[in-house]
């Protein structure tokens, strides 16, 4: 469904202590595309990332990177973990953290190298972090730290960039800036970017594709193909409506549907979703 995918997730299922967290998850993403992995808290987004990274074994299916089975040491993937805020006392400048993105997994002390310094400086500029390259990472704001982490993940020239809830700690404006930056990175550097989020709207303007996760299952495609009442109703296993309100998308349980709504509410502003006025 995607030409020469960089990441191909094929029928992946995961059981964690007897509970089925993911079931038959299937999607592909291509270089140069920004894909949103949307799902409520507990939908399995982080677990799916861990499977892609090789930190969690899948109980079914497989993951292929650039047409090959993934291996433990994988320079193809750059990763920014969830809820990451560095200790302010950590003696680490922004450029030190990005430098660890070049060869942080290698043994030994890094010898000063002009090439590495130039590469790190260029990457910090590219994410708009040049101004605070020499400051302690822990003292930077959430948005600034996010930029430095993106530079760290990107400096090893990966083909796939995974960001777990990068917008979670950011205010609206900082979030929009990070999203715009990621879209630019995807298009200019021909990197496949996969962003997980529990809110669909901040990613709407930039998403090339969407992977919508609910109840451990996923549907994927373009936003138009996926964010539709019939498709999401089938995914949730109960009727939902998709509303467009002033350019924002709301996924709400259908009128008269009294099924449990826990699966949906995090994907949209909860109060609105539960109000009968909006849903009818």
């Amino acid at each position: 469904m995607v030409d020469a995918p960089i990441l191909s997730v094929q029928g992946v299922g995961v059981r964690l202590s007897g509970r089925e967290v993911l079931r038959e998850v299937q999607f592909e993403i291509a270089p140069g595309e920004l894909t949103g992995l949307i799902g409520s808290n507990g939908a399995g987004k982080t677990t799916l990332f861990r499977v892609i990274l090789g930190l969690q074994a899948a109980s079914a299916g497989r993951v292929q990177l650039d047409g090959r089975p993934r291996s433990r040491r994988n320079p193809l993937i750059g990763y920014v973990p969830q809820k990451f805020l560095l200790d302010p006392d950590m003696p680490l400048r922004a450029r030190d953290l990005v430098s660890l993105g070049v060869d942080g997994q290698r043994l030994g002390v890094p010898w000063p190298s002009r090439a590495r310094r130039a590469l790190v400086a260029e990457m910090l500029e590219a994410v708009g972090a040049g101004d605070f390259a020499g400051q302690r990472v822990g003292l930077l704001s959430g948005g600034e730290q996010q930029r430095v982490l993106i530079a760290h993940a990107l400096v090893g020239r990966p083909k796939l960039l995974l960001l777990d809830e990068p917008l979670a700690n950011l205010d609206l404006r900082a979030g929009q800036e990070v999203v715009t930056l990621l879209a630019r990175i995807a298009h200019e550097r021909e990197v496949a970017v996969l962003i997980s989020a529990h809110e669909i709207n901040p990613l709407l303007p930039v998403m090339d594709r969407i992977v919508y996760l609910a109840g451990g299952r996923a549907v994927s495609g373009t936003v138009e193909q996926v964010v539709r009442a019939d498709v999401l109703s089938e995914l949730y296993g109960s009727h939902v409506d998709v509303l467009n309100v002033h350019g924002r998308v709301l996924v709400v349980a259908g009128a008269g549907d009294d099924t449990d709504m826990r699966g949906h509410e995090a994907a949209l502003p909860g109060a609105l979703a539960r109000s009968d006025g909006v849903a009818s």
Binding site: P81, F84, L92, G104, Q105, G108, R136
Partner: protein, 291 residues
């Protein structure tokens, strides 16, 4: 005898063999402690360092009973303690303090028995005080080769682990995603920490060893914002405190009560504490200037 106030460096200081050993072993212990200590503070493993220092009491008292050198006993017990912590589960963030506490409790319980036996068989409490509070002047020069081997081991380990250790101290997940074997790296680092704690324990005493591990590192972290200079600064603070401490302790022979000399460990720890307080001054002044 010349009056003590005549010179800072008392006569005979450079001629004394005990001073030579103290200067060499003290410096080596400070270098290892400073290097390993910076990572310990960054990784929030100070409790493990403190515990290993305390556990050295068991090793020191066992060595006294067995009639072997104190450092041998301390290193054997500290490495065994690290292995036990690893087995109980120090690597899981939540299990970490628990594992450390359980091993610490067990080891200190054993040391209660060993110290009691020491006082019975050796009929002196002096040896026990030396284990607990150290005396760098009583270190046997024949220990120096072992000190050299152990410190080389610890420093080589830290140099080898440097980048993946730093990365996994920043974020275990980011390190794991890059293929770093976070648990293995952590275990190897604990081994270096055990050696550093053992050297510090032998030099300034098992109770005080934690000051040499934590103090210079914490001082350095107040003053610098990059890891390599933090290590250099911690080493400098540690070695300076050790050497000035040795000098003052030697001088204190002429201080009241005349003719005994104050414990060198007191000076070393006091100097480290002063350095830590002074390191807070720049930030304090900056805040004042801004207000």
């Amino acid at each position: 005898m010349s009056p003590p106030s005549a010179s800072l460096i008392a006569s005979g200081f450079f001629a004394s063999e005990a001073v030579h050993t103290a200067v060499v072993v003290g410096a080596v212990a400070a270098v290892v402690s400073g290097t390993v200590g910076v990572f310990m503070v960054m990784r929030a493993q100070s409790f493990a360092g403190e515990a290993l220092g305390d556990i050295s009491t068991t090793g020191g008292s066992a060595a006294l009973l067995a009639g072997v050198g104190p450092l041998t006993g301390i290193v054997v017990i500290d490495v065994a303690a690290v292995a036990a912590m690893e087995l109980v589960g120090i690597q899981r963030p939540r299990g970490r303090d628990l594992a450390t506490g359980i091993v610490l409790g067990a080891a200190l319980g054993l040391s209660a028995l060993l110290l009691y036996l020491d006082t019975i068989y050796h009929n002196t409490t002096g040896a026990v005080v030396t284990i607990l509070f150290g005396s760098v002047f009583t270190i046997d020069p024949s220990t120096i080769p072992l000190v050299g081997v152990l410190s080389a081991l610890a420093l080589t380990l830290v140099a080898l682990l440097y980048r993946p250790l730093l990365l996994s101290s920043v974020s275990a997940e980011m390190a794991a995603a890059r293929g770093v074997r976070v648990r293995l790296i952590g275990a190897c680092y604990l081994l270096a920490l055990a050696v550093a704690a053992a050297l510090a324990a032998m030099t300034i005493g098992t109770i005080l060893s934690t000051a040499l591990l934590v103090g210079p590192a914490a001082t350095a972290l107040r003053l610098t914002r990059q890891p390599a200079s933090a290590i250099a600064l911690a080493v400098t603070v540690g070695v300076a405190a050790m050497w000035v401490g040795v000098l003052l302790a030697y001088d204190s022979f002429y201080w009241p009560p005349h003719g005994t000399g104050w414990p060198v460990s007191f000076f070393v720890v006091a100097l480290i504490f002063v350095a830590y307080l002074l390191a807070g001054l720049p930030a304090l002044l900056r805040r004042r200037a801004r207000a």
